[in-house]
Structures are given as structure tokens and as C-alpha cells.
């Protein structure tokens, strides 16, 4: 592999890679604003300028400049090398690049940073980017001098609505055009552009358009400063109070990797952010996926209940398990149906499959109905773990919800034990479930099935318990627990295991580790430790163009 030298360090690169890409893969960050590993190269921020030494035997290109000489109290003639943007300069074998080691580079970065901040309003207290803003980071690492411009800064439009999701503040904008490129290259829709020049330069909507589509929040995500803020997050929290947890998007079967940012003091999720994974979602997520954290708290099942003659009565979890076990014990073999869920984690489904196998019960799968997919990220299948639920069934036949309803109509089912609450069957068809005497459901959210359950057990949501999903391409990916379970909720696998033990079945699982270990042995395909390629520091790849 060819290499080049960056500050006395040999950096390997592949042909066609730029200096910043190769360095990024080695974990070296060359300061930059406009460059993004997932976008095309603009080279307009000039922050990544580096000094490239001339090939042996050639003179360096030098520029005549004036520098301030404090001793003489005057400017003196000086020379400096012509610097090159690292994001645009392709690496070549044996090249010698100086970044941190060159005082020309450091000096230039400080001046670039000073120029970028010349007209900045410095309204960090009211800016939601504060804490994760590159202007703040580079001010501290590259500039660290007081502002020298005494004139009033240029004032530009503030709080410009860019559609339903994004608000734009032109004063904070450094016009790096990342947002424009993300619209062009990810969404394939040229909704944004620049107008004016110099210090009046600003991002505007294309005439007659507003920022719309399924990837608008990515403009905010790539914005290195506080110019673009999302309506759902702005003014809600400060990023330094949030704690990030690696998670998987539950919006569809793509299984985009994401960070979920929670406030540990309020035990509340505040936002999702894409987590880089070259094999799955690269750097992106769709708007619906970004908003799944809000869905997590809606219509939660927080307490166990049982349906009686006088409506639902509240129970403790132990009471409900006892009641369910008592009802299910009386069901003769073969008359019990077990419902897996494409919304639940592989671990939950795995324990459910074990439960069914020991009772000799047939397996069915509940899932959400399909939705509109696209060719970028969104899968047609709205369920994050259909593949995983099938994989843990271990070649056993898994029927659909329709199959279950057929069996119920045919009078072959006396009781149902189910995971999840969603159904791809219509409301009228579900009424058939009324013929089943006992429907024990383990659900985290209220829904069509939960309403028809006789015993309802509160399960933890995907943010409240660890687990794994297998996406539509067969990649099993783990996710971590971000929040403590709300209310009486318990992880679903634990509920199944306790229900099994109450029915004197051999379900010994008491810790999540045990479930994961058993799953790795019995259904290795579903084991996320093996097949996952989830990696937060994924290597840089060529920008994806979908337009």
C-alpha cells in the first residue's frame, strides 16, 4: 500500500484518496468544516490547509507577504509557502505533508478561524449547537485570541423557517454548503442554495420550495455550527447534559445505527443521531428514524392488567404472571399458539421460541404493516427485526398473523401467548381473536393486540433493555440500554422466562448475558457479536450519490 508522510507519521492510503480521508481513517483529524466523509468535496472553508513539501529537486512555491515585526513596529517583507487544502489534495506515494508541525499551517488556521468568527454573533448561550460546535472547538484548539474586529458585525436574517423541521440562522452560518450537498447528494433534491457573496453570503431555499422530504434532519446533523437547528430539539436541552448510548433505529428493517442521547437526570431521551456504519446506513438516517425516540414514550404499557367482566383491572407483574400461568396450564397441548414479534429484539423472541418449543406450540409472527420505502435508506418493511424473529425460530415454521387468525377461525387455538402489540391484519379481522379464551400479551406499547389481551404484561421498550435486531440484509446488530424501565416494565425475555417458570417449564434465564450466550449457541446466525459490522469509527468511503 502506498504511504505518505504526515507530521513524521507514515499514513497508508488507497489510490484516489485525499489526504484528509487517509488521515481520518488513521484517527487523525485535520481541522475542517466543509469536508464530510459522506459528502462531495467543496474545499471552501479553508480550515484544512496543509503544507506540502515539494518533490526532491524542486523549489517550493513561495508567496511574498508582509508580516508584523514587533521589534521594528512595522511590517516587514516575508515569504510563506502556498498551502493546499487537505480535503481536496489527492495523496501520492512518498508525499511529505506537514500539518501540526508547520507554524505556517497553525498560523493560517488561526486566521481562518478568526475570519469565520469575525461576523459571528457569539450567541452561544442561546445556541443549541453550543457544546458540540466546531467553531467553539477550533476556537479553543486553533485560535484562542480575542476578537480584533472592532466594527459592528454584519447582521443577517435570524430564525428563518426552512420548512417544518429546520430553522436557519444566517448569522451563525459559515456557508460551508454541507447542508446544500446533503440535499443534493443524499436526498437528491436541490432544495437549498447560496445567495450573495462575501460577508453577505447565506443559505436560502430554492425559490418556491421549502425543506421537505425524508432527509431534512440530515441538514441539521451535518451542520458543523449552530446555523441549522431542528425544531424538535431546539431550546429543549443542552448537549453537555446528555449521555449517548449506541442503539439501533426501530423505524424500519434497514436497522440504521444511531446514538440515542438521554438526560440521565430526567431519564428521558432527547434525540437520535446517526451512528456511522459503512455497511448499513453510512452516516445517515431518515427523518422518521430520527424521531423514533418520541414514539418510545407514547402510549406505553406501564402496568400489568387483566381483562375481567368489569373492564381492565390493574395487577402487579407477579400477580399477572400467576394469573396467566394458571390460565395457560389448563390449555391442552397443541391448543396454544405463540406469537413472536418483528418489533421485539431477537433475545425476546429467542426466549419466546424456547417457551413455545417446550409446550409444543406453533409459532406465528406479529408485525407492523409495510410502508413507503425508498432506495436510499428506508426499507419497505417497517419492522426492525423480522429477519431476527425468523432466525431465532431455528427453521421452525413461523406463520403470519393471518395464519393465526385462520387457525383461530378454524377453532384450533384455545390460548395465545404473544409478544408485541402490532398487527398487519385489519381491525375487523382481529376481532376473531375474541374467540380465544386467553390472550396473554407482553407489550411495551398500547396497540391493537394489547386492547384484545386478557392478561397484559408491561415489557421494557427498546431504549430500556439491551438486545439486538437483525436487519433486512441479515446483519444482526446489538443495542444497549439507554434508560431505566419506566413504570412496572420488565424486559420481555424476563417476563417470558418468569411465565415459563410459573408454568414449571425449564426456562432458567435470569440475566441478559445468559440469553445472549444461549442464543449464540442455539441460533448463531442471530448472534450480533458475530455478524455485526457496527462500528462507530467506520472507515471513510466515497460519497454516496443517489441523485
Amino acid at each position: 500500500m502506498p504511504t505518505f508522510k504526515l507530521d513524521d507519521r507514515e499514513i497508508p492510503f488507497e489510490k484516489g484518496e485525499t489526504i484528509i480521508q487517509a488521515a481520518h481513517r488513521q484517527g487523525i483529524e485535520i481541522p475542517h468544516y466543509c469536508w464530510h466523509p459522506g459528502l462531495s468535496i467543496a474545499a471552501n472553508c479553508r480550515m484544512c490547509l496543509v503544507e506540502v513539501e515539494p518533490p526532491p529537486g524542486q523549489r517550493a512555491m513561495m508567496l511574498d507577504i508582509l508580516t508584523w515585526d514587533a521589534a521594528k513596529n512595522d511590517y516587514v517583507v516575508d515569504r510563506k509557502p502556498k498551502l493546499q487544502p487537505a480535503c481536496q489534495l489527492a495523496a501520492s506515494d512518498g508525499m511529505v505533508v506537514r500539518s501540526e508541525s508547520s507554524h505556517f499551517v497553525k498560523n493560517t488556521r488561526a486566521h481562518v478561524q478568526e475570519f469565520l468568527l469575525a461576523n459571528h454573533p457569539v450567541d452561544c448561550p442561546i445556541c443549541d449547537q453550543a457544546g458540540e460546535c466546531k467553531l467553539q472547538d477550533y476556537y479553543l484548539s486553533q485560535q484562542h485570541t480575542p476578537k480584533r474586529m472592532l466594527d459592528e458585525p454584519v447582521h443577517k436574517p435570524k430564525a428563518v423557517p426552512f420548512g417544518d423541521t429546520i430553522v436557519y440562522d444566517a448569522e451563525r452560518c459559515i456557508t460551508c454548503t454541507r447542508c446544500i450537498r446533503v440535499c443534493d447528494e443524499l436526498a437528491g433534491d436541490h432544495m437549498l442554495d447560496l445567495r450573495e457573496r462575501g460577508n453577505r453570503n447565506e443559505v436560502v431555499l430554492a425559490p418556491g420550495r421549502k425543506l421537505e422530504g425524508d432527509y431534512t434532519l440530515m441538514t441539521e446533523h451535518v451542520c458543523p455550527v449552530g446555523a441549522l437547528t431542528s425544531r424538535h430539539f431546539r431550546f429543549k436541552a443542552r448537549v453537555w447534559t446528555l449521555k449517548e448510548t449506541p442503539s439501533i433505529c426501530t423505524g424500519c428493517a434497514t436497522g440504521c445505527n444511531m446514538w440515542v442521547d438521554v438526560d440521565p437526570r430526567e431519564e428521558r431521551a432527547y434525540r437520535n443521531r446517526p451512528r456511522d456504519n459503512a455497511a448499513v446506513n453510512k452516516y445517515w438516517m431518515c427523518d422518521d428514524g430520527m424521531m423514533t425516540y418520541l414514539r418510545e414514550t407514547e402510549r406505553r404499557v406501564l402496568e400489568a392488567s387483566a381483562r375481567g367482566d368489569a373492564g381492565r383491572t390493574k395487577l402487579t407483574v407477579d400477580q399477572a404472571i400467576e394469573r396467566a400461568a394458571a390460565a395457560l396450564k389448563g390449555v391442552p397441548k397443541g391448543w396454544l399458539a405463540v406469537l413472536l414479534s418483528a418489533q421485539a429484539s431477537s433475545e425476546d423472541n429467542f426466549v419466546m421460541v424456547e417457551f413455545a418449543r417446550q409446550l409444543g406450540a406453533p409459532l406465528y409472527l406479529s408485525a407492523k404493516a409495510g410502508w413507503k420505502g425508498d432506495k436510499i435508506l428506508r426499507s419497505e418493511d417497517q419492522n426492525p427485526n423480522r429477519a431476527g424473529a425468523v432466525a431465532v425460530a431455528n427453521n421452525a415454521k413461523v406463520g403470519t398473523m393471518k395464519d393465526l387468525l385462520h387457525a383461530v377461525s378454524a377453532g384450533q387455538v384455545q390460548a395465545v401467548v404473544g409478544l408485541g402489540t402490532d398487527s398487519d391484519a385489519e381491525g375487523d379481522a382481529l376481532a376473531t381473536l375474541g374467540r380465544v379464551s386467553d390472550v396473554v400479551l407482553l407489550a411495551s406499547h398500547d396497540g391493537p393486540l394489547a386492547a384484545r389481551s386478557t392478561v397484559l404484561l408491561p415489557a421494557a421498550s427498546w431504549l430500556e433493555a439491551p438486545g439486538s435486531f437483525m436487519n433486512v440484509r441479515g446483519i444482526a446488530q446489538p443495542f444497549a440500554k439507554a434508560l431505566p424501565p419506566k413504570g412496572d416494565a420488565v424486559p420481555a425475555w424476563d417476563l417470558v422466562a418468569r411465565l415459563g417458570r410459573a408454568m414449571e417449564l425449564d426456562l432458567k434465564y435470569r440475566k441478559f448475558k445468559e440469553v445472549r450466550a444461549a442464543m449464540a449457541v442455539i441460533t448463531p446466525a442471530a448472534n450480533p457479536e458475530k455478524s455485526s459490522t457496527a462500528d462507530a469509527t467506520a472507515p471513510a468511503v466515497q460519497p454516496q450519490t443517489t441523485a
Binding site: 448561550p125 442561546i126 454584519v154 447582521h155 430564525a159 423557517p161 440562522d169 453577505r200 443542552r238 447534559t241
Partner: protein, 209 residues
């Protein structure tokens, strides 16, 4: 390695000191002298002015609520939230103070200004601003952290002793009602609002060229 041993010299006491009795008598003499001094000062009403001269000989304490020693100008008292010219809080709910607070006694719930307000979409304000004055350690970090000069501790008063714990939880209204020791509810640092005459500059429509 053995630890260093420091040998302490035995105090050199005479037999009279060892016997203790004489020393007790001396001690009693000292206390009696002070008793006599204090009593005669109190009876004659001739006590030194401890407010002005804390090191005077004799009775050195003051009758606190009746007499008070002046606080220093930069003494950290109970917090107040400063006002803008229109009476709204200067605070923009940036949460810097609650982040800096080592006692974690500040709770702020940020909110956006209502539709139609000039600051809508541009600034936020504290919907709730609560300081638990019992938890507060009066370190002044919140004042240091505040980028907007919105929270100050220049009230010159200290915590009142309330009967009920909940009275020590100061809410936004209470904090906004506090006045500095110079009688103002504002801050002397200037503040420029967009659209103010004090906020000049070129913009896209009113260019400088």
C-alpha cells in the same frame, strides 16, 4: 522503609506547674479579671463599639439584628435575576449556571418565546428558574458562568430563616423580585437587542456600501 520517628521533647514543667493547683488558681484569676472587666463595662454601659472596632478591649460582640457589620461590596448574597428594559429576564436559559453549579441546586426549564414575540424563534427564556437556596453553597460559580449577566448575587442579603422547607425554594418570580444592594433590578452591563438603536450594523437590506 521504616517510618521517620519524631521524638517530641517532654515539656519542661516545674513542680508548681505539675501540682496543678497553683495553675488553677492563676487561671481562675484570669477569668475573674475578665469577668470583672466585662461586668463593669456592661453595668456602666461603657462597652466599646464592636461594629467599628472589633479588636477593642472588652466586650467584643454585637447585638446582631440591632447592629450590623457592613458587608463587602463583592460579598455573595442571595441570588437575583436581572431584568431587561422591558422587565423580562435577561436570562436566556442557556443552562450554563446549572451546569457550573457544584451543588446542583439550579433547575431551569427552557422555553421558546411565544408566537408574535420579537424574540420568538430566536431566543429562549426560562419558563421555570428554581434555586434551592438550602442546597446552594454560595460559591458564585453561577454568576461566573452566566454569559448574559442574568444572575447576580449582589443583593447584599443572606437567606432568611423560613419555617417551611419549601420557602427556601426560590422560583423565578421570587428571584426576579430581588433587588441589588444599590436598589436596581437591572444590570449595569449594556445589552443590545436586535432592532435597538444601540444595535447598529449593516445587514442585507440596509447595506453599508
Amino acid at each position: 522503609m521504616p517510618g521517620k520517628t519524631k521524638v517530641l521533647k517532654k515539656p519542661n514543667r516545674s513542680l508548681a506547674e505539675q501540682a496543678y493547683l497553683l495553675e488553677i488558681a492563676k487561671g481562675l484569676g484570669t477569668t475573674l479579671k475578665h469577668f470583672w472587666q466585662g461586668t463593669s463595662q456592661m453595668v456602666s454601659g461603657n462597652t466599646p463599639d464592636a461594629v467599628k472596632d472589633p479588636w477593642a478591649d472588652g466586650i467584643a460582640t454585637i447585638s446582631y439584628p440591632d447592629e450590623k457589620r457592613p458587608y463587602a461590596e463583592r460579598w455573595r448574597g442571595v441570588h437575583r435575576l436581572t431584568h431587561r428594559d422591558d422587565g423580562s429576564p435577561r436570562c436566556v436559559a442557556c443552562l450554563c449556571c446549572s451546569t457550573a453549579c457544584p451543588a446542583q441546586c439550579i433547575y431551569i426549564k427552557p422555553a421558546e418565546y411565544a408566537e408574535g414575540d420579537a424574540r420568538h424563534g430566536y431566543e429562549r427564556y426560562p419558563e421555570l428558574f428554581v434555586i434551592d437556596e438550602l442546597r446552594c453553597i454560595f460559591c458564585g460559580f453561577c454568576v461566573e458562568a452566566c454569559p448574559c449577566d442574568a444572575i447576580r448575587m449582589d443583593t447584599g442579603t443572606h437567606m432568611t430563616a423560613y419555617d417551611v422547607k419549601s420557602d427556601f425554594i426560590y422560583d423565578k418570580a421570587k428571584l426576579m423580585s430581588m433587588v441589588s444592594q444599590h436598589g436596581t433590578q437591572k444590570s449595569e452591563n449594556p445589552r443590545h437587542e436586535p432592532g435597538d438603536p444601540t444595535h447598529p450594523g449593516v445587514d442585507r437590506l440596509h447595506g453599508g456600501h
